[in-house]
Symmetry: C2
Subunit: 343 residues, 2 copies
Amino acid sequence: MTTIRDIASAAGVSIGTVSNYLNDPQLLAEETRKKIHGKIQELDYHPSAAARSLKSRQTLRIGLVPIIHPEDYRSTDPGDNAFLELLAGLNSIAAENGYAVLISAAPNYAQELKTYERLIGEGQVDGVVLMGIRSQDERLKLLTSRHFPFVAFGQSDISNDYPYVDVDGAAGIQMALRYLVELGHQKIAYITPPEGLMCTRQRWEGYVRGMEESHLEIYKEYVIEGGFNEKDGHISTELLLDLPEPPTAIITANDICAFGVMRTLQMRSLQAGKDISVIGFDDISLADHWQPSLTTIAQPFRKIGFELMQSLFSVISGENLLPQTMVEPKLVVRQSTGPMNNK
Amino acid sequence: MTTIRDIASAAGVSIGTVSNYLNDPQLLAEETRKKIHGKIQELDYHPSAAARSLKSRQTLRIGLVPIIHPEDYRSTDPGDNAFLELLAGLNSIAAENGYAVLISAAPNYAQELKTYERLIGEGQVDGVVLMGIRSQDERLKLLTSRHFPFVAFGQSDISNDYPYVDVDGAAGIQMALRYLVELGHQKIAYITPPEGLMCTRQRWEGYVRGMEESHLEIYKEYVIEGGFNEKDGHISTELLLDLPEPPTAIITANDICAFGVMRTLQMRSLQAGKDISVIGFDDISLADHWQPSLTTIAQPFRKIGFELMQSLFSVISGENLLPQTMVEPKLVVRQSTGPMNNK
DNA sequence: CATTTTTATTGAACCGTTTCAATAGTAATT
DNA sequence: AATTACTATTGAAACGGTTCAATAAAAATG
């Protein structure tokens, strides 16, 4: 192992000078700089991360604490696809800034907070990224009270004075509505996410705004409190189709729910995209491969990862202690939507 | 920040004793142990990871270096699903042993080796996990020559005297064959992965052994050098169906290829699972949602993650410097296979 | 009871950096 | 020429643990 002392003596300078070379090279005379550079290459020197962070109090690491599901599970959870893209986003910005991402798993929810406490207590990381914000999220409280830099993906239902990045669900729904109206639809049903979630409230606003924008009235029969599962889609669709005047388009809580809608249409010999238009939310990988493929409001997870990491850096550097970003979703048009069919 | 000295003076002992408490509590007298424990709780003490690893030379971290694809991409790459499950496996064993996983991304292949060199040079991790082993993989050479603990997922086509975990592709194919024969199939075609890969060689062995086992002869017309894409499945299937005596079952290189096979069958108005049985490899999430759902040979990625991390620990501890593990795949039966159809 | 062994604790050195006041040398200013 | 202002470099003191030879006290042995 070669240390800073080896470099110093090989280059005939003091260790302080080598340290300066490492941290602020322009402090040195051109000649000295070259000499040190040469020796570093020659001796293949890498400064010890441990020593460095012991003294300087920064680790160049960002923490992430996933909960590992106990069993081997193959989920259609959008979380899956999302998580990878998000991780890619986080990592790429992190790497650009010389940071790495430390994943310290918690075996279950009970151990979650303790894992965060260890992570920050031991000084393993300079900041953390929170995913899957829950209502009354204890992690928000913990990190806020400890004044530890963090950023969350998603807003909470409690106070929102913490750094976050969120997807503008309202804009997404509004976008979908605008598109459907362009296609001639007017009877547009909306299957909402479960009551009580932040995104439910957000998206509802989008629905209201979008309908107003197109001067359409909201019929309460067309708004169904649904959920994220295929079953929710199924049940809600049955209700909608049994109305005296069924809708010609359905916006759903997420893609999985939309699949439930489409299966129900099929059972009734209706064709999605022709008889009834269906729009999902998320754009999971299945959406593209479904038959017919699903038009959906895509969440740009990679970009969210970028934003999260950039926000976190601005918190850490003190440049902006309360960055709050909204990311715009994107409408991906596929086969499950089409012009209104006047039979 | 409370340090070991704070605890020591609060408990009225020396810092050496507190250190002993931390690392080997049974060295202490019951009474002392309690006293220190109390103060640690009271002062919410967490030993500094940096100081600890500076002196002890272990980081309690394992490194992983993914290459971040430059663009936002939504892939059907089994790698995706695989990567997450694998990561879950790695993390859960790591966490059990007090370890965390450090992800240090490389922006591209050109920078990959440098990233590894930094990671181990700076002493950021105690070992690394290698994924996606390539032929003549430079990483194997680097890590071996530096005597740095590592374990690879997959064998290489060069020398194999390094620690690895691999999936027994031969056993998988043999399993599939046995199942097809049970269903009455005899004309069983095999679309191979591309020539030159390790897995191709492995699986070919499985095909040969499986056919021999059932006393079936191998017809070279039934063996097609294919690949991992939908197109490979398509082209190969056309060839197979145009034979004077087309096969009644097809084993493919992976699920994506199998989808290509199934689409081709559909084009010719043949029904997978009735007219011709199709078996994939990997069990990506789409396999279950395809119409008809795909029978496939599943790679247990979670378990592979377990094995990888366990192997790595045994290398690090010196307990076994050359662990080499084969993991058995599992046949997942769905709708794309069925009894032979004697028309 | 003296001696040896075992058990519990200590304290100082060390791990490899960063940091910063101090210093020497050089250039600019009066 | 004397003073002041920079620039480049130094050296020692941290940072917060671990390690280990040394020591003290208690227990076992002859």
